[in-house]
Symmetry: C2
Subunit: 309 residues, 2 copies
Amino acid sequence: MGKLLIVGTVAFDAIETPFGKTDKILGGAATYIGLSASYFNLDSGLISVVGGDFPEEYLQLLRDKKMDLSGVEVVKDGKTFFWSGRYNYNLNTRDTLITDLNVLADFKPVVPDHFTDCGFLMLGNLHPAVQMSVINQIPKRPKLVVLDTMNFWMDNTLDELMEVIEKVDVITINDEEARQLSGEYSLVRAAQKIHKMGPKFVVIKKGEHGALLFNNGDVFFAPALPLEEVFDPTGAGDTFAGGFIGYLASTHDISFENMKRAIIYGSNFASFCVEKFGAERMFDLSQEEIQRRLKQFKQLTQFEIELTH
Amino acid sequence: MGKLLIVGTVAFDAIETPFGKTDKILGGAATYIGLSASYFNLDSGLISVVGGDFPEEYLQLLRDKKMDLSGVEVVKDGKTFFWSGRYNYNLNTRDTLITDLNVLADFKPVVPDHFTDCGFLMLGNLHPAVQMSVINQIPKRPKLVVLDTMNFWMDNTLDELMEVIEKVDVITINDEEARQLSGEYSLVRAAQKIHKMGPKFVVIKKGEHGALLFNNGDVFFAPALPLEEVFDPTGAGDTFAGGFIGYLASTHDISFENMKRAIIYGSNFASFCVEKFGAERMFDLSQEEIQRRLKQFKQLTQFEIELTH
């Protein structure tokens, strides 16, 4: 069974969209990544931190999805990381209303013994120093290390971020972040430059416009599934990453051909995630609906053309 | 041999991009559509109008690509339609600097006898009354009528436009225009509403983000080919439409499966068009480079996933 270690936030989110708003609900990158990867029956562990205010019930929800939480520290007298955001009318942009780091500010991740030999490591969006600390606690390099990050770390901790980028196999960022990191507007050129920073694989997420996978000269594209209604995009990128690495960990195959499938699986899970507030939709997907939607992805993208040259 | 009739502008364009600017060069929707469709060895005819200032040399360029220009009126004492635009730094938006309708203002299209039995009719972006006049001059309904239009006609001549929309099989518009026409933000819902206006097939062009083909419940997506450099997007949408209808006319097959291929061919030609200023790149493509790029489209989008349900 593939062993997958995920480091990232487990948090409270409060979300406002044109369709409604939530109180504090279960959120965080590691939550979404873990939920998405849970559909692959892996030996998955989370590394994160929460405060004493975090409901045991939420932790149990994650344990019920077979996540090992021995790496999730509970700081009894601290408060859980809290993020609040408001989406604009078309859900394409959002304003962050509140970011209370709370216990995340002093987070020192500890990799449980059971996961020091993990084959697959997912570095969710966090301070690069935390990501590096996790890398350094794993004596034998995992088969695949995937990094997610964001513009905030490029703006504020670029040197530390570059050290992490140098050590990973795959980086997942959005199109604007790829442009910022590389200084190139063309995503083809941006990927070329980012390859030189370390990652052999560059995944550029374009939200409703799909995702690109670059591996030197090779490129693969997966669209987002056109949906009648998108309810809440929160966590879609993390859900994508969880499906991506979850599929790779379950197949133990990191070839470009298999990564294409992983991109499709990631896009598939993300298409579910956006259908309800927060992570709600990700708790009880059936294998049948997952497969049905994969079929939709095939119908959406596959064609037959005979080449004459 | 498929008979394709194209109505649209033949014009002067002056284009400014971050990479340079042109004097008045050969432009116009019918020009781009005709050039793109010319690679399918059809019996193609253009219906348009130019002024006495239009160089015979430009007309000869089109004749050399086997276009029948007997439907192109030359108004000796008139001036040719002139459009000038400036693109912003990332080429995603542009400002129109000049639109001189000139001879286009009084254009009365006349379908040459040889084309009154055309099997395929492409209504390029023009006043809907001109498009309707062409439809009405064709006694036997063509096998396929494709309409291109834009927000300008939605703003100013909506009633006339709706009458044309009711009569066509395929409409090609961009995402914002689909939203405007339908009043729906979701493109899936927009397509549903537009189906009800008449067209069985709805093609939504998203520029660098690809194109969607809707046919009631079915949907197909083609990405734009990721390019290292986009030089000038002018005419890309018309080039797409020309490749789309040209392929369909050459295969005489308007099934959904074949339309998928047509969408890929259209996207393929559009990827060439943007590589140079204006229509320059579209004059001398080799079958070999067309096929090579089709292969890139396959590599970009095709994957194998076994479904278990």
